[in-house]
Symmetry: C2
Subunit: 212 residues, 2 copies
């Protein structure tokens, strides 16, 4: 891959890889600690009777999140980004060329580095982009970090079990998201409340059905 | 300022400005929504009988945080960073050359862009660096985002009123911070609990006394 190739070209190349293996790929982004790993730990087992999933983790150092997932029986590959505050297409491309992806996989979830700014500028070849916003972070984040909210397919308000304890205005936050991205699908959920994932799981199933 | 000057040189130049006006400068960093603006809104009025403070806000777009502070009677200047995920020394330098800072100021608080990665690499000329970590983000953040925790003078665990509702292990989080940065001063507080800021305010007073 010549150094002249920019991120977008490499992302397209990654997309070809994903499409060859029929791998529906989702890029999960958020601020640090919004609940990406927790959501994956609940989502993948809930889908596992019908769909096989794989996770690619992006973190500056270590394999803490990948190990959390592995302890939940989920296959996870780790990309260490070093000083980079985001995954880029070349990092994902290198991984794709080094690991042999099992066939008959359905979903590939890429958990990006916790950052509400730069991941928006670096598509990885994914089919869908999902941004998590924890209700503990404040309803103003879509206004303050607009680029990542503008370029996503879905927004998930996480940790809704904490709503009684924080001053997060759900209606206003939805208004802010739709003001920036009218097409965005919005979910409000908590991994601590059973049954909280239903709409999110249904959205995933619809998306992969449309993809095929 | 030639383009050859790197960030560190410009930061030193900023430091000269701060020292000429006897302005004790603190760079506040955290993930988005950890509580920087809320902390400033409580801290500056609590110090105001003895110290005069000024805030410089760094955000991608808008003046939402600066306006929140202004509504609290706090003087705030806004730097709009555009697509940059962090403030850099040149941005602060341009501001210093454009606004005339009042004399007899004591504290300058710089609220950085919400990001646990890149602000660590761009000193602004500040005297002290403080990182906020909300107890809602998880105790593992010092391990996952080590650079910013290694290079700071103090770490503040915020939103401690929410501890009963989250699985944040305060002792373990302190261990993680001290494992990376044994010298770091650690505070655990909530802006929602009156009297919660005492130790933090005392640390600020000690720091400025040592500076003078
Ligand atoms: N109350 C509550 N806490 C949650 C929920 N989801 C996640 N958490 C907590 O939020 C913290 C962070 O969760 P993670 O899943 O590690 O977040 P993350 O987005 O993967 O974090 P990074 O990968 O470091 O950016 C942990 O302490 C979780 O227990 C939820 O639905 N409700
Ligand atoms: N329960 C509780 N909530 C808090 C506390 N401090 C801040 N918050 C809430 O946390 C959310 C974010 O607070 P901000 O002060 O805007 O955080 P910030 O770090 O300035 O955010 P950015 O500038 O966007 O990175 C808001 O909803 C606040 O009300 C606290 O001590 N306890
Ligand atoms: Mg994670
Ligand atoms: Mg703020
Ligand atoms: Zn970046
Ligand atoms: Zn950055």
């Amino acid at each position: 891959e010549g150094i002249l190739r920019n991120n977008d070209e490499i992302a397209e190349h990654n997309r070809e890889h994903f499409d060859e293996s029929g791998l529906f790929t989702i890029n999960l982004m958020s601020a640090p600690g919004a609940g990406k790993t927790s959501l994956l730990s609940a989502t993948i087992p809930a889908l596992s009777d019908r769909y096989r999933s794989l996770v690619v983790e992006g973190d500056m150092v270590g394999e803490l999140d990948a190990d959390r997932l592995r302890n939940n029986g989920i296959t996870a590959h780790q990309i260490t980004t070093g000083r980079s505050c985001h995954l880029d297409a070349a990092m994902v491309n290198r991984l794709l060329h080094h690991v042999s992806l099992p066939s008959n996989l359905d979903f590939l979830f890429i958990e990006n580095v916790g950052n509400l700014v730069c991941p928006a500028e670096f598509p990885l070849g994914e089919h869908k982009r999902v941004v998590l916003l924890s209700v503990t972070e404040g309803a103003d984040k879509p206004l303050k970090y607009p680029v990542i909210f503008r370029q996503c397919d879905a927004v998930i308000f996480t940790k809704c079990d904490l709503l009684p304890h924080v001053d997060f205005d759900l209606a206003k936050a939805m208004e802010y998201v739709h003001g920036i991205n009218p097409e965005a699908q919005i979910f409000a959920l908590s991994v601590k409340q059973s049954g909280g994932l239903t709409e999110w799981l249904q959205w995933l199933e619809r998306q992969i059905a449309e993809y095929r």
